[in-house]
Symmetry: C2
Subunit: 200 residues, 2 copies
């Protein structure tokens, strides 16, 4: 930034610049936004960062984000504990919750098995998932990892561990997304949509 | 966010969501980025926000951003004090400094006169600029407000105050931006570029 700089501003810009999808110009805009906040607002923002980082842990049961020992979903006695929906990321839990259709519990893997990136089953929460199979209540595990090569491989790996225990393992349906234009659907998706066709 | 939420996460997302150009999805991505930071990094980020907000004030002379009484440019004895470049925003100072061509001083208006938005001359730093004209050193004021209706009006307003004092007031040249495609230049810009043509 040439000869001229304001140290504490430059440092703030740097922090924003490290964030995903934020370039130098955006980082500068965000830093100026912070400068123009009222003192209470800036303090509240700084506190929110610190608090979120300190308070949020993994739920000891489903590994979802939680502020207490158990996450709010595991605490909820109204959820159907005979079903576990296995997802990669806490954001996927939020996505399913937005449907208002799923009443079961979740398990968050916090990643996928990816030999290319040196991530094995022990680096994600497979062990914690297996620990949940022993209570006799569990009937079905829905594999809801992403429809990517690594998501598929992870779903396959986990299903091979669970099937011998007599647990039903299912996978999300593949097909064309609702509202999409068939013209732009890729071949693999269309093939899967044909394979999975249903009688009307 | 449906029935499910983690309070401190939701609060952090809210803070990011208020920022310019950040929608809900981006805010969520940024909040998760913060959660995945190391503790020291998250603390440093929170500190950077607090520190920047506390430390950065207006330079008592040019109204640029400063951590001390004077900004680093006003402290610099190597700058030519006979010229003041008047800009709307501290970011414009950074833009001029990046050219490495300007050796004079600056004056930051922190806005433009805009009757539509209820911003008059007393809401920007016109008074502080006039206070700088009395020392006898000043020879030229370059009006470098944005080439917008309000920027023009502000430049005209200030030039009318300064001219009677015998100070030379200039305006940035208008023309086609370097590297641009003439085909896409608007009529007003092209007209101004023609008017301002020079002998080669």
């Amino acid at each position: 930034m040439a000869r001229y700089s304001v140290n504490s501003l430059a440092r703030l810009v740097e922090h924003f610049e490290r964030m995903p999808g934020i370039g130098h110009k955006s980082a500068q805009r965000l830093a100026f936004y912070v400068l123009n906040l009222k003192k209470e607002e800036a303090d509240a923002f700084a506190d929110a960062i610190r608090t979120a980082h300190e308070k949020i842990k993994k739920c000891s049961r489903c590994c979802n984000l939680a502020e207490d020992e158990l996450c709010s979903l595991c605490k909820d006695s109204g959820r159907d504990e005979s079903v576990i929906c296995v997802v990669e990321d806490p954001r996927d839990v939020m996505a399913f919750e937005r449907t208002h259709e799923y009443e079961g519990t979740y398990h968050v893997l916090h990643g996928v098995i990816s030999p290319m990136n040196g991530i094995g089953p022990e680096d994600i929460t497979v062990k914690e998932l297996l620990a949940r199979t022993g209570d006799g209540k569990l009937q079905e595990v829905i594999m809801a990892t992403n429809p990517t090569v690594e998501g598929e491989a992870t779903a396959m790996y986990i299903s091979r561990l669970l099937k011998p225990m007599g647990i039903k393992v299912t996978r999300l349906a593949y097909g064309v997304p609702v509202g999409a234009d068939l013209e732009y659907a890729d071949e693999v998706t269309l093939t899967r949509a044909l394979e999975g066709r249903r009688v009307l």
